[in-house]
């Protein structure tokens, strides 16, 4: 990470927490539409990060063992498995496929 990135992301993350608490929060109470949009935002952007981390390598689409790990993770999250079980199973699946492929 560059120094600029560390500083800028820190300001952005801390600023959003403060803005959420003091500026946006009171406004959202008055605007249910906006409030719903805000509460759905994490699902969209976090899923995008998940896609980026799962099927790309150096910027291009790459299907490899990570995808199998994620399929296992999806099943376990759906079945409400504990957090550590999800993470360990995804890593183990990915590692095993790489070891035997």
């Amino acid at each position: 990470m560059t120094t600029l990135a560390i500083v800028a992301i820190t300001i952005g993350v801390w600023g959003q927490r403060l803005a959420g608490a003091f500026l946006v929060g009171p406004q959202l109470e008055k605007r249910p539409n906006l409030s719903r949009a805000a509460s759905l935002l994490p699902a969209a952007v976090v899923m995008a990060v998940i896609v980026q981390l799962t099927v790309t390598r150096a910027g291009s689409l790459t299907i490899d063992a990570r995808l199998a790990g994620m399929v296992v993770a999806i099943i376990l999250v759906w079945r409400k498995a504990p957090f550590l079980a999800v993470v360990l199973a995804a890593a183990a699946t990915t590692a095993l496929i790489r070891a035997f492929a």
Binding site: V13, P32, V45, M47, G59, A90
Partner: protein, 259 residues
């Protein structure tokens, strides 16, 4: 849609009885028994944040970030998701600013957590600022579930302490291990963070609108990856929300604004 404690941090299975309720029940927080973290909950949460800290440090150092920089970054940013978004964009050849904006966009999650937390805190700007800056999933989920307003702040900081202990120990150990661990993909470390993120938003995805929003965000990102510069697929995924709102069947707004 109301974001209740179950949507926020049900993934950690903390205070099991409190999370076992239906989503509708979480709307009426005052009616619930007050959840308190057990020792086992603290250990689970500590291990969770410890393992995320280790993973993040090892991957950052492997990505070419110096150990000092990696340590400083994880100690001040307080959003592993933003760091991963940034690293993913840079790995794809994106510019510094594309990575930074992607990091900002994914940090909206924490702003929304602060929105739920703030009204429950006692008055006092300094105390509210300090709490807002530490808003994470587990501590906000515990704090907003307290039935007695006097317990909110204490339980928030108790949870924060357990989380931070795990996180900083993990960051410390990960920084140390970063230079030692060889090929991290051999042990599947690159699958850890996407799986962790999925678990974190799991309960949001279990709701119809949350699932639509998530799938749209994922599709937008996937379709754009081959065509636009790195970073933009993540940034533009915010429009997944628009699709979710259009497809939504809940006419929540009309009823409220008409009254």
């Amino acid at each position: 849609m109301h974001i209740g404690p179950r949507e926020i941090a049900g993934f950690l299975h903390l205070g099991r009885s409190a999370y076992g309720r239906s989503v509708a029940a979480t709307d009426d927080e005052s009616a619930q028994s007050t959840p308190r973290l057990s020792r086992a909950d603290f250990v689970t949460m500590g291990i969770t944040f410890f393992s995320l800290g280790v993973t993040l440090q090892v991957l950052m150092i492997e990505n070419g970030t110096s150990t000092t920089r990696a340590f400083v970054a994880s100690s001040v940013i307080f959003s592993a998701t933003s760091q991963f978004a940034y690293l993913a964009v840079r790995d794809g050849g994106g510019s510094d600013w594309a990575g930074i904006i992607a990091g900002w966009v994914v940090a909206t999650r924490f702003g929304i957590l602060a929105v739920s937390l703030n009204p429950r805190l006692p008055k006092g700007v300094v105390r509210r600022v300090l709490a807002a800056l530490n808003a994470f999933d587990p501590n906000v989920a515990i704090a907003v579930q307290q039935s007695n307003p006097r317990d909110v702040e204490r339980e928030f900081w108790r949870t924060t302490a357990g989380m931070m202990l795990g996180w900083f120990l993990g960051v410390g150990v990960g920084t140390f291990l970063g230079d030692i661990v060889g090929d991290t993909s051999r042990i599947g470390l690159d699958a850890v963070f996407p799986a962790a993120l999925l678990a974190i938003i799991g309960n949001l995805l279990r709701q119809r609108d949350g699932l639509i929003s998530g799938i749209c965000g994922a599709l937008i990102c996937l379709l754009l990856i081959p065509f636009v510069p790195a970073g933009f697929p993540i940034i533009l995924s915010v429009f997944g929300v628009a699709v979710a709102l259009m497809l939504s069947r809940q006419p929540a707004v009309e009823t409220r604004s008409a009254s």
